[in-house]
């Protein structure tokens, strides 16, 4: 007499929604998948062995990592302040944080030049201490950081919000200073969100093209002069889709695989 209740028979809405959702997923996932499978593994391997490809991969990964580390140092405190304090204009500050997501990427590159270019304030300071910006590793890092740091700040903010503020309060009454309560309670409990925000920031940095092409078409790095991966792809596309395909596939593989692996580490052991 085993039977399923009527509830389990999907209603018309569920069917339509799942169908529309599947189209959406197909739209999102088909292009990268098609790109990856359009090149044979052999072609991908040979492409990866080209000097301007592997130097580009190294530059891109390393620059994005540097940007993420600086982002952690400056962004996590901001996220904590926003998660814990109420103040006038907080909405506005939160809107500002998302500004880099919404301004056109090439305009972001131009805007960064306006501030960090050698004729301008921060640029002069950087120059003064011997750090170049235009066509430099620093320029790449700053561009990546600018466009990607909102993801880290937003994720960290949500992470801190999810930590019961009373845990910190109890820690204080037990003798912990504000610093100790932050490092022993808040940070360990929010690390999952911060880590997955960092992964997103890193991956988003990796993906940046518009701001970087304005600032650093190529950058000197470890004796090479590589372009970042997105620039390399666009550069090769000038010679046609067949030529750009394998590099695009490599770029996609690197970002998707690291993103999904690191993200699953962040969520390991946690329920859906």
């Amino acid at each position: 007499m085993t039977k399923m209740s009527g509830w389990k028979k999907p209603d018309s809405m569920s069917i339509v929604f799942i169908l529309l959702g599947a189209i959406m997923l197909l739209f999102i996932f088909a292009p990268p998948l098609k790109t990856v499978f359009s090149s044979s593994p052999g072609t991908l391997w040979n492409t990866l062995l080209e000097e301007d490809v592997y130097s580009s991969v190294l530059l891109t990964i390393f620059a994005a990592l540097t940007a993420t580390l600086i982002g952690l140092f400056l962004g996590v405190p901001l996220a904590y302040v926003l998660a814990r304090h109420q103040f006038r204009g907080k909405r506005f500050v939160e809107a500002i944080i998302d500004v880099p997501i919404v301004i056109p990427h090439s305009a972001a590159g131009v805007a960064l030049l306006f501030v960090f270019g050698s004729n301008f304030l921060f640029g002069k300071i950087l120059n003064g201490i011997g750090i170049g910006f235009f066509r430099s590793f620093t320029g790449v890092v700053i561009a990546m950081m600018f466009v990607s740091v909102p993801f880290l700040i937003d994720a960290a903010k949500e992470g801190f919000k999810a930590v019961d503020v009373r845990l910190e309060k109890v820690a204080r009454t037990l003798g912990a200073s504000a610093w100790k309560s932050f490092f022993r309670i808040s940070l360990p409990l929010a690390w999952r969100s911060i880590f997955s925000g960092s992964v997103l920031m890193w991956a988003r940095g990796l993906s940046e093209f518009g701001a970087i092409i304005i600032i650093a078409y190529s950058a000197s790095f470890l004796g090479w002069s590589p372009k970042v991966l997105p620039v390399l792809v666009a550069n090769r596309f000038d010679f046609g889709l067949d030529y750009a395909g394998p590099v695009a596939a490599i770029a996609i593989l690197i970002s998707i695989i690291t993103f999904i692996v690191l993200r699953s580490i962040a969520y390991r052991g946690e329920k859906a």
Partner: protein, 348 residues
């Protein structure tokens, strides 16, 4: 031990103000108030976790109003315990000692001792997520007590527990408190909890203290209708003083004349506790000055005890034990006599 003087804090919608409390060493003090009365904020202000607009907090003869929370030696236990989820029970308890840089041996001895007192030695290696509500509460208590605070603040510590555990924990709280002598401020919205635990009780209403006194005083002499309702005094009536007879004041409540010992005049509000009313099938021969015939209009069964509403009019709610109820064989519509002393009537 701890004195709160003229405290004022901002609760957003309203202020908590004119809060004056003097709690004795070793006293178990209850702050009672409805949800949203600012009870938690009051505790957090005392612990230095919430900004104080005006007023002072003293521990003994030392003012601590400006001290940061980690220097106040005030422990706090929240309703849902707020155990550190990423630390084991042992590390939760050790946290305060570690922060205070207590040497390892000494810390171990202190933990062993408090764990013994609270009765959770078997839980030390567990993770907080695996504990039951009552166990969590004891761990939170041990965590606060191990640092030997001067004052312990309890924020509705029992209201998240089921009724059976709550009763057991009330008893255990009384016992633990008798073993570790320290001042406790316990906030709750549960009047029975207040009565069961408190040496003294303060009732909060509209951001001010409405009454401070012993549990007995709350039961017998509530200062206002608000307090009386909160104390679950089920009979709150309006009447008019009509005269004096044989030393008793006569109060007319819609036709029925009550005899009370009061010096009030004119229109009055009065309260009468259900346990002060005696129900019988026959009129009672006793010294009680009030004896009326009424009709049972409602019966609310609570298991061990039963609330019987008798209508004269007006309605009088009386409490009797199940045994007495069975003996009287009461049913809706039955005629019964209710009897109570003149002194049982409290006029506000």
């Amino acid at each position: 031990m701890i004195s709160i003087k003229n405290l004022k804090v901002n609760l957003g919608d309203f202020f908590l103000q004119n809060i004056n409390l003097d709690i004795e060493p070793g006293e178990y003090f209850i702050v009672l108030g409805p949800t949203g009365a600012g009870k938690t904020v009051l505790l957090e202000a005392i612990a230095g976790l919430y900004p104080v607009l005006e007023g002072e907090v003293w521990i003994g003869d030392r003012e601590i109003t400006d001290l940061s929370p980690e220097k106040r030696e005030i422990g706090i236990v929240y309703q849902d315990q707020a155990l550190f989820p990423h630390l084991s029970v042992e590390k939760n308890i050790a946290f305060g000692l570690k922060m205070r840089k207590c040497p390892k041996n000494e810390a171990k001895a202190k933990i062993d001792a408090i764990v013994e007192v609270v009765g959770i030695s078997h839980l030390l290696k567990r993770s907080p997520a695996t504990l039951s509500g009552g166990e969590k509460q004891k761990v939170a208590l041990a965590r606060a007590l191990v640092t030997e605070p001067k004052v312990l603040l309890l924020d509705e510590p029992l209201s998240a527990l089921d009724p059976e555990t709550r009763e057991r924990m009330q008893r255990e709280l009384r016992e633990i408190h008798s073993r570790v002598e320290l001042s406790v401020i316990h906030v709750t919205h549960d009047f029975e909890e207040a009565i069961a635990l408190g040496h003294r009780v303060a009732v909060l209403n509209d951001g001010c203290i409405a009454q401070i006194g012993t549990p007995e005083e709350f039961l017998r002499r509530p200062s206002s209708e608000f307090v009386a309702r909160f104390a679950l005094t089920r009979n709150i009536l309006s009447g008019r003083v009509t005269g004096i007879e044989n030393g008793c004041t006569l109060i007319d409540i819609g036709g029925t004349k009550l005899r009370a010992t009061t010096e009030a005049n004119g229109e009055v509000r009065l309260s009468l506790r259900p346990e002060d009313i005696f129900i019988s099938k026959e009129p009672l021969q006793s010294t009680a000055r009030n004896c009326f015939l009424g009709v049972v209009s409602d019966i609310a069964d609570r298991g061990s005890v039963i609330y019987v509403t008798v209508n004269l009019p007006p309605d009088f709610v009386c409490i009797i034990t199940r045994q007495a109820f069975d003996e009287l064989q009461l049913g809706k519509g039955a005629e019964v006599w209710i009897t109570f002393k003149a002194s049982a009537i409290h006029v506000f």
